[in-house]
């Protein structure tokens, strides 16, 4: 079955509250889509709509050439990995993985073969007899993955599957999921609030904000060409720095008026340079507040004099400045992003 997922004007509301607003999207077969956004942006609801765990209020949902808008969850041939894994506590690892197959009436030896294959892939073979409570967090997560894998679904749905793991395990598992998805080529939709996961896993990213799609595109597209201030601030860590410039300030600092109204200028932390003396162009006088040394990079937080803005600057080398120093922050013109102050929409020059 073709596993292209098509969303047509998909909308979800609870009573009067609109949770998702008219989403149009086509997810190609084998594509890895990551949905990001702050808590409460509707990303979990989005996933649950695809899964069939929530009913669609308006619009249509197609899988291949089949309209599945009102198909019950069990007939959609999708598998989901839950944030808390939702393993059946009274069943062994084997039975947890086999349950879906048993219900669908697979033959005993077929079930065994599939479960063992998945267990092999996920390094679970020696744990098949254990109960979930005898497993570590990472192992449970893998069982949850296995339960989804054995079904050979047309679509994988991931609901923040890594958020209960510690940092190191999260990275390992992230890489594993990535490799697995590439190898199996199963269409996947992955919901997270972690932007590292989003950037590294996604073929295409969807940024959701308050139920609206802010932007859809490849991670680098979103990074380099954010269409709104929200996307710009959400993607990248530390977040993009913003400062508002009046028309006069624009003339003074940018050499020309970008707009006939005040604009919001956005500059990524890695695009700043420290200067000891001011120079023409976009140059701000600031005092260094704090320096975070991460080993491979340094983050310098400094306050722009005469405003409340705090800017972060990312440096590859140990900075020559120290806390309390007054310095100039300089950014080249081609690294700047401009946004409309009221609507937050990007202004392209």
């Amino acid at each position: 079955m073709m596993a292209t997922l098509t969303l047509k004007q998909l909308k979800k509301s609870y009573d009067q509250v609109e949770v998702l607003h008219y989403i149009d999207l086509t997810i190609d077969e084998g594509e890895f889509i990551v949905v990001v956004g702050p808590s409460g942006c509707g990303k979990s609801t989005f996933l649950r709509l695809l899964a069939g765990l929530e009913t669609v209020t308006e619009g249509e949902l197609w899988l291949g050439d089949k309209n599945i808008t009102h198909t019950p969850a069990k007939s959609r041939n999708m598998a989901m990995v839950f944030q808390n894994y939702a393993l059946y506590p009274h069943m062994s690892v084997f039975d947890n993985m086999a349950y879906g197959l048993k219900i669908r009436g697979f033959a005993k030896n077929d079930i065994k073969a599939r479960v063992e294959e998945a267990a092999e892939m996920l390094d679970l073979s020696h744990l098949l007899k254990r109960k979930p409570r005898q497993l570590s967090g990472g192992q449970r997560q893998r069982v949850a993955m296995g339960r989804a894998l054995v079904r050979h679904p047309s679509v994988f749905l991931f609901d923040e599957p890594l958020s209960n793991l510690d940092a190191k395990l999260r990275v390992d598992t992230r890489v594993k999921i990535h490799k697995l998805q590439r190898r199996l080529g199963i269409t996947s939709v992955y919901v997270t609030h972690d932007q590292t996961e989003a950037m590294t896993l996604a073929d295409r990213l969807i940024v959701l904000n308050k139920g609206y799609v802010e932007q859809i595109g490849t991670p680098l597209e979103l990074y380099h060409h954010p269409r709104t201030k929200f996307v710009a601030s959400f993607i990248g860590s530390p977040a993009m720095n913003f400062i508002e410039l009046s028309v006069d300030e624009q003339r003074q600092k940018l050499g020309k008026a970008v707009s006939q109204e005040p604009v919001c200028v956005g500059i990524r932390p890695e695009h700043f340079q420290f200067l000891l003396e001011g120079q023409a162009g976009f140059c701000l006088k600031a005092r260094v507040d704090m320096i975070e040394a991460l080993g491979h990079e340094y983050i310098v937080f400094s306050k722009v004099l005469g405003s409340d803005e705090e800017f972060s600057v990312r440096l590859k080398e140990k900075p020559v400045v120290t806390e309390g120093d007054e310095v100039f922050l300089y950014a080249p013109a081609d690294k700047m992003h401009f946004f409309d102050v009221t609507s937050g929409v990007a202004i392209n020059l």
Binding site: K74, A79, F82, Y88, P89, Y99, G100, I103, R151
Partner: protein, 281 residues
């Protein structure tokens, strides 16, 4: 937590005193059941078991006593056991299903339904006993097991407890089962039921004792001697008119009436205790 030696002694002393307070009446009942009536009616009451153990128990168990309509107590125990069993089992089944419906399904007037069930908690059996009797009589279920058990198998308490338990189970469990292709009853059977095992055991024991101790309802719903229960039997024995109550036989019956619930309790104890203290899910 480490406790000092002194506090350990104190704890044990308290436990032993409590045990004595609880066991002494039972011990005296047992002693009384091993003497002849005569010995019991002369002061002082005997403190040690007598020689009539076998004859007293054989009389009540197998031969029957005249005031009981000659019904042997084993038959009363048999009746009591099945009544208690059906009441307990019925209560568990009915309340499991209704709690399942209340928690996992959305239907009109769901909350109202829950509150109505909850409200009946406040109505004791005695309040609705007359209308219940009328219904049971009109259905022709008097002097029959169905009449004894059916009116008692709905339980608001049990429904409420199961509801609370189901609500502590993560919602994702239900959703995972849905994604795995399980329908509602499949989910109930494969997931909910095994996870409620300990709760079921605990409730079963409590409800079995409740059923076993039923007195008023069996007294009203049955009139023939071969349907009477052991609790009724004790009362009938004590009511012997124009003669000295045979306390030895009464006590023997009481001891026998004690044994069955204790056995059920012992058999279910492992799960029962787990059900009351366990939080593992």
């Amino acid at each position: 937590m480490k406790s000092s030696r002194a506090s350990q002694y104190a704890t044990h002393a308290l436990l032993i005193i409590g045990l004595l307070v609880l066991l002494l009446p039972i011990y005296f009942a047992f002693v009384a059941s091993t003497h002849s009536v005569k010995a019991l009616l002369t002061a002082p009451i005997p403190f040690w078991p007598g020689h009539h153990f076998l004859s007293n128990y054989a009389t009540v168990l197998f031969h029957g006593v005249k005031t009981l309509g000659g019904e042997p107590v084993w038959h009363l125990l048999w009746n009591s056991f099945w009544m208690a069993f059906f009441i307990a089992a019925g209560k568990v089944v009915v309340s499991l299903l209704s709690a399942f419906a209340l928690v996992y399904f959305r239907f009109p007037l769901r909350t109202l339904g829950f509150w109505l069930i909850f409200l009946t908690l406040m109505l004791p059996v005695q309040v609705r006993i007359v209308p219940t009797f009328q219904v049971v009589a009109q259905l022709g279920m008097l002097n029959h097991f169905s009449g004894l058990c059916l009116p008692l198998i709905a339980s608001a308490t049990a429904t409420f407890l199961f509801r609370q338990f189901f609500m502590t189970m993560p919602r994702e469990l239900c959703e995972a089962a849905k994604m795995d292709g399980a329908g509602p009853m499949r989910f109930f059977w494969d997931i909910v039921l095994p996870l409620s095992k300990t709760n079921i055991a605990a409730l079963f024991v409590i409800m079995f004792v409740y059923g076993w101790n039923q007195y008023l309802w069996p007294l009203i719903a049955t009139s023939s001697a071969n349907m009477s229960t052991v609790v009724m039997g004790i009362q009938k024995l004590a009511l012997a008119a124009d003669q000295v109550p045979s306390w030895d036989l009464i006590m023997a019956t009481a001891i026998l009436a004690l044994i069955v619930p204790v056995c059920v309790m012992l058999i279910m104890q492992r799960w029962f205790v787990k059900g009351l203290v366990d939080t593992e899910k």
